[in-house]
């Protein structure tokens, strides 16, 4: 069959989806972030059934599917569950490479939170390493109220 599209140069139309978002954190995350900002304390929530303490905190326990009840202070020390060091400047990154990320399980918490690991040469980061939260100087009720986690001296 004759290819009627043979000589055609494909045109590419460029655009982007730019929808502004405002995510309501909800009362649980709001309490966590406000306490982090104002008191430099890290809070978790406790499940009344399985007694797990979650940090980041949850309004409901995903395992038991009930509302969590108590606030518990956790951290600011914890250990590195796993980590990576990113060397390519991937588009989503907010910092210049190398960027080290870790899953940090805080003392007193059953789960782990994602955050940066800094204050150490990236090659020296290890699984199980003890780290502590470094709080940001600038006041912000967000995950950035913690600047990063650094090794415990």
């Amino acid at each position: 069959m004759e290819d009627i599209f043979k000589e055609i140069e494909p045109q590419v139309y460029k655009s982007q989806i730019s929808v502004p978002y405002q995510w309501w954190a909800g009362e649980t995350a709001s309490k966590f972030f406000i306490t982090l900002r104002d008191e430099k304390k890290i809070l978790g929530t406790e499940c009344p059934q399985c007694a797990k303490v979650f940090c980041p905190p949850k309004k409901t326990c995903p395992f038991c599917y009930v509302d969590t009840k108590n606030w518990k202070e956790v951290g600011p020390k914890g250990k590195v569950i796993t980590y990576t060091v990113v060397y390519r400047q991937l588009a989503a990154l907010k910092k210049n490479v190398p960027v080290a990320y870790g899953l940090i399980q805080l003392e007193g918490s059953a789960n782990a939170m994602l955050h940066y690991i800094e204050g150490i040469e990236p090659e020296k980061i290890s699984k199980g390493m003890e780290v502590e939260a470094v709080f940001a100087d600038e006041k912000s009720a967000s995950i950035h109220a913690i600047s990063y986690f650094r090794p415990v001296k």
């Binding site: 995510w23 990576t84 060091v85 990113v86 390519r88 991937l90 588009a91 782990a112 939170m113």
Partner: protein, 379 residues
Amino acid sequence: MEAAIIGVGMTTIEKSKVGETYADLAWEAVNKALNDAGLGIDDIDNVITTSSDFWDGRTISCMAVGDASGVRYKNCSAVEGDGTFGAAYALARSLSGDYKTTLVTAHSKGSESISSIITNAAFDPIYERGLGLDMISACAMQARAYMHATGTTPEQLALVSCKNHKNAKDNPYAQLPMDITVKDVLSSEMIADPLHKLDCSPVSDGCCAIIIANADFVKKIKAKPVWIKGVAFCSDAYFMGDRDLSKAKALEEAAKKAYSMAGITNPQNEINVAEIYDAFTYQELMWIEGLGLAEYGKAGLMLEKGIFNRDGKLPVNPSGGLLSGHPVIAAGLYRIAEVVLQLRGEAGGRQVNAKRGVAHGVNGLCGQSHCVWVLDKEK
């Protein structure tokens, strides 16, 4: 189960299909599947398209392929996620008694967007997204957790890449057929430690279509059916910190259920071919174990022994897998189509000797949600 796959159609998987729209891709795959089944579009009584609004840069992304998939005068629906999930809903419709023949499509053009930003949007906007993670950095953390827990080595990961890129040389649909060595993989760019560039699947464009029919319809046609014996899917917890990343618990559960539906008690002996969602090298090994095709932590050793090679006892990704071409969303449906070709003995240069096979797809970060298909030559 009383249903079979009676036709498959794939476009080639390429880095950039700049000359073709989503509709063009769907049109090609759908017509190939119809020809394969020896059917016309009027023989199809309902359609499921699979797409992602994020990957396509379009709200209601299914709209783009409706015409090309022949939905105009039919009942239809749309699944968002991997094509194996789209096919699972299609199977439900074929088994419900309301329909006889369900056409399933899945498409994606990674070339049209930036995968790092798209997958960053899978992170929780309140607790995580602002940190700048994406699929590669998240999976690098999982790779490390898995390697640490099992003692799997970077060389073993690299061997997955060598095997799959080599397999792709006999797959006319594959994007990256290559002869590479373990050394090539280990000396390729370190993107996110421990994942090198050649540990990662590429960004790809492609569309796949399959036709699922109930048993009554299969009796009436000439096409060679491949029977669906078991299908199951299962999700793990969402937050990476809520899971043991070194284990694929949700996959174990899905596999267990799919095998039990298929009457399989010893998958290592009873499965002859597997097409697995190897978005990264470590994932092929982890998912092999999650699927019960190797003991936990032993897939790397079995790989070294050649068991998963095309001429091994249990060939894994004889097509070259996702490492040789990864159109997100469509990738799992390609796995199903590949197993269908294998079981029909129509896989050309990549053919293995198989009576029963498993195909596998994934949704979400670090293999949160898995879908497992057990397919058989015989009813």
